[in-house]
């Protein structure tokens, strides 16, 4: 990349900002920092960054309302940082328009992977209908899926689910989102459908369905479609 992507960190914990600053700078990102919600919103408005990393627990304003305000005009990716065991918080933030989340404590490798995936999603569009990853090939126009060059037979629902995943590669998708996209708004509480179809997709696509590498469970939140590199 010629110009480094600019990242705005909004977090009140000085230790967390320091850690993020070192991690991001050593991976060639340009970093700016805000210590509270007010400052963060002003900085984002004056000079919109390529991505915002937002801590949900800010001293002056609830993280959710900050996110809501940002999303009124800010379209680049937002990654949420949250403390452990607050699944509802995370789901709420994802529904409000956050692209991804990390729970503290997290591994910096994980953070960088999420950032790459979110930035990629923001940079490229899915104009290319054929997605190829390692031994998996998904053709969104012909509606076919091949593994190791062999055609995999999928039912219509299985294909719809896989296509939803493929279009959001690397991104966490909540149970509600998947149920609404694939089955329709009347089905958002029918989580048993999702469980069954995820299990079936895993059986057809994973090398070992019990140790999935494509369809990763995000406990209590949803699923993430990850492509082996």
């Amino acid at each position: 990349m010629s110009n480094p992507a600019e990242i705005l960190i909004i977090d009140d914990e000085v230790q967390m900002r320091k850690l993020l600053e070192i991690t991001l700078q050593s991976n060639d990102y340009a970093v700016s920092q805000a210590t509270n919600a007010k400052e963060g919103i002003i900085m984002a408005a004056n000079h919109p960054p390529d991505m915002i990393i937002l801590d949900l627990g800010l001293p002056d304003e609830d993280g959710h309302s900050v996110l809501q305000k940002l999303r009124e005009w800010y379209t680049n990716p937002v990654i949420i940082l949250s403390v452990q065991s607050s699944e509802e918080d995370i789901i709420k933030a994802l529904d409000t328009g956050a692209n991804d989340y990390l729970t503290k404590p997290f591994r910096t490798g994980e953070l960088l992977a999420r950032m790459r995936s979110a930035l990629r999603g923001a940079l490229t569009d899915v104009n290319n209908p054929v997605l190829t990853y390692n031994d998996l090939q998904i053709d969104l126009s012909a509606r076919t899926v091949k593994k190791k060059n062999e055609l995999i037979k999928l039912t219509a629902t299985e294909y719809a689910l896989l296509a939803t995943f493929a279009k959001n590669e690397g991104k966490v998708l909540t149970h509600h989102y998947l149920l609404r996209e694939v089955w329709g708004p009347g089905f958002i509480n029918q989580s048993q459908y999702l469980r069954v179809f995820i299990a079936q997709l895993r059986k057809k696509i994973e090398d070992d369905p019990n140790r999935p590498e494509y369809f990763i469970t995000e406990s209590g939140i949803g699923y993430r479609f990850v492509l082996k590199e």
Partner: protein
């Protein structure tokens, strides 16, 4: 035990029940008054009042005693249906009746007070003991990783030039291990306090048991364990409506425990079966098992087996029990005849069979 009865009935109800009981007994005596003398009736009424004194507060008992004396006088002492008393003997009897009933009430009340104080003292002693155990356990389990982190960072900061690359890497690894251990302890403590506060409510959703078991095992394998883990789940097992997070934590803690306290060459079996809408999960190992006298204690908070290596807070198994019970299930521990321990969990839950969902 007496406390239970007192708490169960409000004061008003105690008056009501006391008086009703005396009236009932008096009524029965009156029906049989041809066969028993009125002096025997006094003893029967006195007995009734004594029984009431065992369970009720002092004031309701005194009132009951007074009313029973009046009833005895009015209905039983000749002349009947007046409050007059004919003979001097009966005067003395009536007077003594009232005194004995009152003494009864006061004495029982006092005994109960003493019992209450003794119980509170014992409770306090137990709390202090538990508090000490918690402090000891916590200060040890939290301070050990903290000490490792402080020591390692000190070394890296102050003796950096003297360290070989290998040493430096090892120190960093120690810091990483210690932080993960700290994180796990904190998570255990949070879970425990959530359980204790009664704040925890299972959030039930459809669960794929195989997915949960494999996720828990994956987390354990990431810690690097040497034991072999065998998983045996019937592919036709239905979905269960349970709290996924709780169930995964239960399985994680049990398997992690087995991995911590068995030898490296041991095997851990995880079996999941469905018996008529009851999910049964068995986690067994072929280690040494538990000592007989310890089997009943292992689920207690901060209980650590004698002579075990460190690494836990003594909270793991009490969280297992707490979560299992929060989901309406039960857990049972036994030693296997072949050696090793077996935990069996049974949870009744709503099921959904995959066949019932159309796949188009």
């Amino acid at each position: 035990m007496f406390e239970l009865f007192i708490n169960k009935y409000s004061k008003t109800k105690q008056y009501l029940y006391g008086i009703l009981l005396v009236c009932l007994v008096a009524g029965i005596c009156y029906a049989f008054s041809q066969y028993i003398g009125y002096r025997v009736v006094a003893f029967i009424l006195l007995l009734t009042v004594s029984l009431i004194a065992m369970f009720f507060d002092i004031l309701p008992v005194l009132v009951t005693a007074f009313i029973s004396a009046l009833i005895w006088d009015y209905f039983f002492i000749p002349p009947h249906f007046t409050l007059q008393v004919a003979s001097t003997d009966d005067y003395i009897l009536l007077f003594m009746y009232f005194v004995i009933a009152s003494i009864n009430a006061v004495l029982t009340y006092k005994i109960r007070q003493i019992e209450k104080v003794a119980m509170q003292k014992e409770e306090k002693a137990n709390t202090v003991k538990l508090y000490n155990t918690i402090l000891n356990s916590l200060s040890h389990e939290l301070r050990t990783p903290i000490a490792a982190i402080i020591g390692a960072t000190d070394n890296l900061q102050n003796h950096n030039e003297k360290l070989t690359d290998k040493n430096r890497n090892e120190l960093v690894k120690e810091i990483s291990k210690a932080s993960f251990r700290l994180n796990q302890q904190v998570e255990n403590l949070l879970n425990m306090s959530r359980l204790e506060s009664g704040f925890i409510q299972p959030r039930k959703d459809w669960c794929d048991i195989a997915e949960i078991v494999y996720d828990a095992v994956k987390r354990i394998e990431e810690n690097g364990i040497s034991q072999k883990i065998h998983i045996n789940i019937n592919p036709a097992i239905p979905l269960f409506k349970l709290d996924k997070g709780m169930l995964e934590q239960v399985i994680y803690n049990l398997v992690n425990n087995a991995a911590l306290y068995t030898d490296a060459n041991c095997t851990i079996n995880i079996i999941a079966i469905c018996h008529a809408d009851v999910l049964q999960i068995i986690i067994e190992d072929n280690g040494k098992g538990f000592r007989k006298e310890e089997i009943t204690n292992v689920f207690d908070k901060f209980y650590r087996l004698k002579n075990t290596k460190t690494g836990g807070t003594g909270l793991g198994l009490s969280i297992v029990k707490g979560f299992t019970e929060a989901m309406g299930g039960s857990i049972y521990l036994e030693n296997l005849s072949t050696g090793g321990a077996r935990f069996t969990i049974n949870i009744a839950a709503e099921t959904s069979y995959q066949k019932s969902i159309k796949n188009e």
